[in-house]
Subunit: 159 residues, 2 copies
DNA sequence: CCGCGAACGTTATATCATAACACACACGAT
DNA sequence: ATCGTGTGTGTTATGATATAACGTTCGCGG
């Protein structure tokens, strides 16, 4: 998996690929990739940053796709449950998954200065956590690993 | 005996020690360990579980120590800022620190069945995270590591 | 046709958190 | 001694996030 948060990239391409991946995954698993769900994923991909449910809802409203909180929350829950997006606990916000389809323990780097969010593989951290939990007899089902600090650009600006 | 993390322990003793540690740390650092702050820490220690700010506030209200949200939030913020308590993002809740005074990267194991919360050293996971972040030029300042799953007791009950 | 489950639309409400301002008090400087 | 200043507290009001509950629609298999 590639980290996208702090680097330039071909964004049109990355949107198209993610959407197609989601579409195919839904078809393969018999999930309904409905217009609202699709559009919410598009919105997250467009912005390429962490968005609150109400931010997403604002966009849906303007487009006549839904006007009440449950519409946004249901679509977001679907995307999160199926690995197309992640919830960032620290921000009460959502972000499109940078590597949909791959089984992974996401790990987020959140810049406190510019609010950029990068998803990076958290496999090592996740393994360490599972090991520690296992020693206590705790059965880990989901892991949230989130770091707050300064992104490369803001570290420079700070200095 | 109550449950600390997932194990039994001498709870009266653990409350007393934690309170004393906080008291001494405040004195040493010139921080004000005011009645409200002290009482809030006691409340978190008493319950020995994750509590919402409003849960804490309910107790304060009954005791005439404060009746409005800012009172609870201010005290909790103080305790968190100084390492006497932690905030659990996943639960929007607070818990007394299990190792006050020691510099540590806390890591939480949250049981989805019984809501028990254990704090465990997250040093290995935290180190792994910092290493991954460092490769990207990200400067980590704070880390939140939270696992959701089944505690030992609930794993057994489940089987 | 009917029963069912999944998604959606809507209303209302629950839950979590902070802005803003007034007051009290401790403490060091004038 | 008085004044300014910083810090903590009390209070009102509001903002931000999230879900309960119920009715409607629609496709699908019995
Ligand atoms: Zn992109
Ligand atoms: Zn930044
Ligand atoms: Zn205890
Ligand atoms: Zn449990």
């Amino acid at each position: 998996m590639e980290t996208k948060g702090f680097e330039h990239h071909d964004h049109h391409h990355c949107i198209a690929t993610s959407l197609r991946t989601a579409e195919e995954a839904c078809k393969a698993q018999g999930l309904q990739f409905t217009p609202v769900r699709r559009r919410v994923l598009e919105i997250l991909l467009d912005e390429h940053r962490a968005m609150g449910a109400y931010d997403v809802l604002d966009v849906l409203r303007k487009e006549g796709l839904g006007s009440q909180p449950p519409v946004a929350y249901r679509a977001l829950d679907f995307l999160v449950a199926n690995g197309f997006a992640h919830r960032i606990e620290r921000l009460n916000a959502f972000v499109a998954c940078a590597a949909p389809g791959e089984r992974h323990a996401p790990c987020f780097l959140i810049c406190r200065a510019c609010s950029a969010v990068a998803e990076t593989p958290g496999r090592r951290a996740s393994d360490a956590l599972r090991a520690a939990a296992g020693e206590l007899g705790f059965k880990v089902e989901r892991v949230a690993i989130e770091a707050e600090g300064l992104c490369p650009a803001c570290v420079e600006a700070d200095a």
